[in-house]
Amino acid sequence: MRKTYTILSLLVLFALALAACGTAAPAPAPSGETVTVKETVVVEVTSSAPVVVAPTGYGVTLKTVMERGNLICGVNSQVPGFGFVDANGNFAGIDVDYCRALAAAIFGDPTKVEFRPVTAAERFTALQSGEIDILSRNTTWSLVRDTELGGNFVHTTFYDGQGMMVPKDSGIKTLQDLEGGTICVQTGTTTELNLADVMASLNVTYTPAVFEDADSTFAAYSEGRCDAVTTDKSGLVSRRSVLADPAAHEILDVTMSKEPLGPMVRHGDDQWFDIAQWTVFTLFSGEEFGITSANVDDIRANATAPEVRRMLGLEGDLGLKLGLTNDWAYNIIKLVGNYEEVYNRNLGPDTPTYIPRGYNSLYTDGGLLYSPPFR
């Protein structure tokens, strides 16, 4: 009995010592005995001490990232092909590879990036508060997000449009056929708003079933909870490929909205914006000039075309102008690849999440990918 007493009084002392450093309440002055306990706590506190980052001002973000030694990138963890966790616990996807490219540009090492899965709800707050350096989470570029939500979109990395998927045997061919039906959609997205807009303008009444995350949305759809499911077409394609019977589902031939998806940075640091922007252009140009991770060393050794030479850091000090080293673009292509490589790795014909290139081809192939000149 006396022993319990000892345990408990020790616990209480421990408690008071913790409280003494934890709260503003006037607590009894720690006696000699409690000081030792207090020290063990201090270790804990340091481990959880707030990290100082400066979120705004020209050049501040790059400086912070360099000092920290890694890039913190807000990503999705639930969209196969764009951002998800594989069975080995590694992040994969086109948005994820963009972050790796950015890390390669800054550090010459694509592994120096910390992926932070953020929900649709918290992504903008996470960016505003400086918790993440860049948001690369299939986020649609829109005016409100560009202004009121405190961010700037860099160049689009994937052109998408909202689509609608239905079971083939339902006989639904147009949006009007969905009159009176139920449609699965994910909350907090532009998709949810577009759906309401489009259906209102078509004068179609429907019931939404609104889910918190992509997984639940498609789980519910595949169980037959809804007559249709809507999200970006890329998402529909990648999700259809992993449904039990992909052939039994059809993506309607309608595009309900434009969905340019791209990385987003905070307002107020133009240097960081430029770095993020030109990382995208390097991926595009790499494909345009036919530079791949396999042949980039050869090309760098033998390049004669002035623009290629400038891009790979042989002429013109372009990297220094961005605040990076001159081999930044070389590192991106060498360590991550060009746009085509990244695309094929995540969304190419050999992946379960195959999406035809479509608008996401080079302008020379009739697509929308067009990089300003490297000079």
């Binding site: 707050t125 909350t187 639940s216 007559d227």
Partner: protein
């Protein structure tokens, strides 16, 4: 106090306990205020940087999104405020239905737990142990994805007796549709309600005057039922026509369609909370000492009378406070609706916050709402608790 016998030594003020106490409090209050101000300043500065000022005026804006379950007319042109109200009403309906059924099931479980029947007793305790050690969130998600969405599709719907249709699009139950005579019927019901209250108080006065214990509640309820039945039959047209749910194409139609989200949330909360209420009820009944029962039997009361007049009133006194906190838990736990896609107040507020970026306003509004519901519920239950205490003495 102890030092008063040493008047020659004046205590320096830094050791005078009275002054220290006041000083300590002032310092405490100041530091709380200071931290509060700091937080407020930081928040304002942070928001100002993004060009946002704290204001609730955005609630008047057009919401632009649709909501699945609405209790009044709502579409994408309605305001954020209306969306919020819809969420609030949904929360309230889940809470009321949930509390009602959780109480019934909880009482059954509590009694079953004390049953002398071995199987029933074991089943009840197994159920209590099973549920009480699960995480509600996991349970709800499982209940929704693993049970309600795994119900058959509409074309293979399960039919239950009582014209209940079970599908993964929802559960259809028969429902009454008001006819032309319904307003009259409603008046009759109102009259019945007044009569019921009169009967209730009359019987209670009678009980207090004579010391007898008539079945007050039963008789008053019976009054209401009789009035309702008479009203139902004397009206030329039936006030309600029964509308059965049926399968129409790929969807359910007619009757009342309860969505899988509503069903999963409500039944999940009921099954979970009932386990806790069962324990409360069991403890309450066991708290009445055996001597009370024996004494009442010795006085010649029969089993039912013992239960009604001796055990129940005493058990109720023990049961009410923990029962209140279980009710409050149910209301607060209904915020997990977000995990089963049911648009309760938390979920709708979350959507609004998502679409507008107004985190501070929406979270504080939601917290205030829950706080208000909690305070109202506990005020109500405290009032009831006081009442039964008075009756006891």
């Amino acid at each position: 106090m102890q030092r008063e016998y040493k008047p020659d030594t004046t205590i320096p003020f830094w050791r005078d306990e009275r002054i220290l106490k006041i000083l300590g409090q002032i310092i405490f209050a100041l530091s709380v205020l200071f931290v509060g101000m700091l937080i407020y300043q930081n928040m304002k500065a942070g928001l100002a940087k993004q060009g946002i000022s704290l204001s609730y005026s955005f609630l008047k804006g057009v919401s632009g999104f649709d909501i699945a379950e609405t209790s009044f007319a709502y579409d994408r042109n309605s305001t954020y405020w209306q969306a919020f109200l819809i969420g609030l009403l949904n929360t309230l309906s889940v809470s009321v239905v949930g509390i009602l059924f959780a109480t019934i099931l909880g009482v059954i479980l509590g009694v079953a737990r004390l049953s002398t029947n071995f199987i029933i007793n074991r089943l009840a305790s197994f159920y209590l142990e099973l549920i009480r050690n699960l995480s509600l969130l996991v349970f709800l998600i499982f209940w929704y994805l693993g049970v309600f969405l795994k119900l058959p599709r509409v074309k293979d719907a399960i039919l239950w007796p009582g014209d209940i249709i079970l599908t993964n699009r929802g559960v259809g139950i028969p429902w009454g549709i008001p006819t032309a005579s319904f307003p009259t019927f409603r008046l009759i019901l109102l009259g019945g309600l007044i009569l019921t209250v009169v009967v209730f108080f009359a019987l209670r006065a009678y009980s207090q005057r004579t010391g007898r214990a008539p079945l007050t509640l039963l008789w008053s309820l019976l009054t209401f039922v009789v009035v309702a039945l008479v009203g139902w039959f004397i009206l030329p047209e039936k006030p309600l026509t029964l509308d059965l749910a049926f399968v129409k194409g790929l969807n359910l139609s007619g009757g009342k369609i309860l969505t899988p989200e509503f069903m999963a949330l409500t039944s999940g909360l009921v099954l979970y909370t009932a386990a806790f209420i069962g324990e409360v009820v069991r403890a309450g009944i066991q708290s009445v000492s055996k001597g009370q029962v024996e004494a009442s039997r010795a006085l010649g009361l029969n089993g039912f009378q013992t239960l009604r007049l001796i055990v129940f009133p005493q058990a109720l006194r023990v049961i009410i406070p923990p029962l209140t906190s279980q009710y409050l838990n149910l209301v607060k736990n209904s915020s997990l609706a977000i995990s089963v896609a049911y648009p309760d107040v938390f979920y709708v507020a979350n959507t609004i916050q998502n679409q507008t970026g107004r985190a501070v306003e929406m979270i504080s509004l939601v917290m205030l709402t829950y706080l208000l519901i909690s305070l109202l519920t506990s005020a109500l239950m405290n009032w009831y608790n006081q009442r039964i205490k008075l009756v006891e003495r």
